[in-house]
């Protein structure tokens, strides 16, 4: 009997490692291909010239001004998108949880809706809006952040919702109000510190999404990092692929960091909720 069990366990182990191996290959092979391509030198040799160029910001600025422009625009877009998303979502979701719980389903529906709308459809819908945006605010690429906020809504909503579920927002808000706190203090000193992990997750996801966005920027004829890469690829494929690989690795690192940042604090926030369900000793 125990022999059968051991054999079954070995079989499971083999299956597990094969699955992991296939997945790693699936993800690693294209990355390896990119790395291999960007390190090709003249005459079949290996060279780090492309990466050296990429790490030299002055050289990149001089030789690839479009890349610099796209990179700076994407960084600006990421920062602006995160700020607008947080200012829009955190107070709204907190308020809905505190005062308008009946609206939570509607807000969830609205926030998740962009998942079902293809980018091309979004652009068609946003075109007349952006005509006004351009007319009123100018042609800056940064105004794409208004559209990007819509794109990141589903992911940011999920992260923030998980954070809000982990704490008893209503009781914490009422406790601080009874101690003399105004709504601003409640948000800044009580709710936000306990949403640290959720806010960071929402922000990281938004940054990753904005840095990888191509369709909307391209269709609106704006230059962000992905558009610059695409255009550069026509004239200098190696530097373009190198930038693509760097962006991918950065995205992975951001998502990887998400699983570590604020770990202990999230346990702190979740503790009261868990404790409430059982009787306590003194």
């Amino acid at each position: 009997m125990s022999g059968n069990r051991a054999a079954a366990r070995r079989k499971q182990d083999v299956f597990r490692w094969v699955t992991i191996g296939v997945c790693l290959l699936f993800f690693a092979l294209p990355l390896y291909g990119m790395l291999e391509f960007t390190t090709r030198g003249p005459g079949g040799t290996r060279s780090a010239q492309t990466w050296a160029t990429l790490l030299d910001f002055g050289k990149v600025s001089a030789e690839y001004p479009a890349l610099k422009e796209g990179f700076l625009a994407s960084v600006g877009l990421a920062v602006l998108t995160v700020l607008i998303m947080l200012v829009l979502l955190v107070p709204t979701m907190t308020w809905v949880r505190l005062r308008l719980p009946g609206l939570s389903r509607t807000v969830e529906f609205l926030c998740l809706l962009p998942l079902t709308v293809p980018a091309i459809v979004l652009v068609v819908g946003l075109t007349p809006v952006y005509a006004w945006v351009t007319y009123l605010l100018g042609e800056s690429t940064l105004w794409l952040s208004l559209a990007y906020v819509i794109l990141v809504l589903p992911y940011a909503y999920r992260s923030l919702d998980a954070g809000l579920r982990a704490i008893d927002v209503k009781t914490l808000a009422e406790a601080s109000r009874s101690l003399g706190a105004g709504w601003g203090t409640v948000m800044m000193r009580v709710i936000l510190p306990n949403l640290r992990t959720a806010v960071l997750s929402a922000s990281f996801l938004s940054v990753a999404l904005v840095l990888g966005e191509f369709t909307i920027a391209n269709l609106f004829s704006r230059k962000n990092l992905q558009v610059a890469m695409y255009e550069l690829g026509k004239s200098d494929a190696q530097i373009s692929i190198a930038v693509g690989l760097a962006a991918l690795v950065f995205g992975f690192l951001v998502l990887f960091a998400m699983s570590f940042v604020g770990g202990p604090r999230s346990a702190t926030a979740a503790a009261p909720r868990l404790r409430r369900t059982r009787k306590e000793s003194p």
């Binding site: 009422e174 702190t268 926030a269 000793s281």
Partner: protein, 354 residues
């Protein structure tokens, strides 16, 4: 408990007048009126949905009454926001700020009042000492037990020297032993600081043990407000008699302020039905039981409850009667024993028989 009163005079009077609060078709508060004297601890007791928590939340400013008036210390605060009401509150759910230590939690209200660091530290240390948690000052909520968290919440509420202390079922998440310890501590602390206190609970033992006066609520209004012993011994309505303590409903005949019941005669409380066939509400400790082969009742069961016990018997008329006996006497009445039951003569409430 009523003999214990606060002496330092810190408390202020609280007056709730004609409060009304509806949720759709539900009348949570129906012209609710309550006066709390300075330094007094009043407990609101009642079944779920009777409006006791709504009354407390209206006083805290966390709910807006549809109509009525709330006065604290003679000042109308009906439309004053929660943050300016100067009330300390302890919630049923654990409400410590998870990202702060116990000390930081206690200091929070003082920080908002722009007290100096030194003053905050001293006050927080005093309050934590008052609740016996000086050694837990640097711990976070998740590092403390439920009882300790509620003590810190009490210290936090008291640190701001509130005009009124509001306790919204603060013990209901705790186990029985901690609950008893903490309720006694709450009473000790309340008497020490002398803050006017409104305590909401659904646990009658808790209410009777800590309060100067207990208000029994039903369907949004006060059914009776009285000192614990008066509430228990002289309920003014069937609901109060039923809700506070155990009550036997026994058929009897009322004549001239007395009722004949279980072969005995009991004087009737004010508000009782005064004549004819009635149901007399008799407490288990108001009935004598004696083994008697010629008795007209039969023991159904007995239960040991620690300090005392209870025997349930069925009368010839088919009524179940619960009798309180010394715990050592429970074994003397095994099921099937024929017994004689006699009403002892304590004053009781009689209601018209249906």
């Amino acid at each position: 408990m009523t003999s214990m009163t606060s002496t330092d005079g810190q408390g202020v009077a609280v007056q709730l007048t004609g409060l009304r609060r509806t949720y759709g078709a539900l009348n949570a508060l129906d012209h609710f009126t309550l006066h709390i004297a300075p330094g007094e601890l009043v407990a609101l007791l009642g079944p779920s949905g009777c409006g006791k928590t709504t009354a407390l939340r209206c006083l805290a400013g966390l709910e807006d009454p549809d109509s009525g008036r709330i006065e604290v210390g003679g000042r109308d605060i009906t439309s004053v926001p929660t943050s300016r009401r100067d009330m300390g509150m302890v919630f049923q759910a654990y409400s410590l700020f998870p990202h702060m230590t116990a000390r930081q939690n206690v200091e929070f209200g003082l920080q908002l009042r722009k007290r100096s660091t030194q003053e905050r530290r001293t006050r927080a240390a005093d309050m934590l000492d008052l609740v016996g948690l000086s050694d837990q000052a640097d711990k976070y909520a998740h590092q403390m037990s439920g009882g300790q968290q509620q003590r810190v919440a009490l210290a936090r509420a008291l640190a701001i020297e509130p005009q009124v202390l509001l306790l919204d079922e603060p013990l209901s998440a705790l186990d029985a032993k901690v609950r008893t310890q903490l309720r006694d501590e709450i009473r000790r602390i309340q008497l020490t600081v002398g803050t006017t206190t409104l305590f909401v609970t659904h646990d009658q033992e808790e209410a009777l043990a800590v309060a100067d006066r207990v208000g029994v609520m039903r369907a949004g209004h006060l059914e009776q407000l009285a000192a614990p012993e008066e509430l228990y011994a002289r309920p003014t309505s069937e609901f109060v008699a039923d809700f506070v303590g155990l009550t036997n409903r026994l058929p009897g005949t009322a004549v001239d302020g007395h009722a004949d019941v279980l072969g005995g005669r009991v004087p009737l409380l004010d508000g009782s039905a005064t004549s004819g066939e009635v149901m007399v509400l008799v407490r288990p400790e108001g009935i004598d039981i004696a083994a008697d082969p010629a008795g007209d009742a039969t023991v159904l069961s007995g239960s040991f409850l620690g300090a005392h016990g209870r025997v349930t018997a069925e009368t010839a008329g088919g009524h179940h009667v619960v009798v309180q006996v010394p715990s050592s006497a429970v074994a003397a009445y095994p099921p099937g024993t024929r017994v004689r039951l006699t009403a002892r003569g304590d004053r009781a409430l009689a209601v018209r028989a249906e």
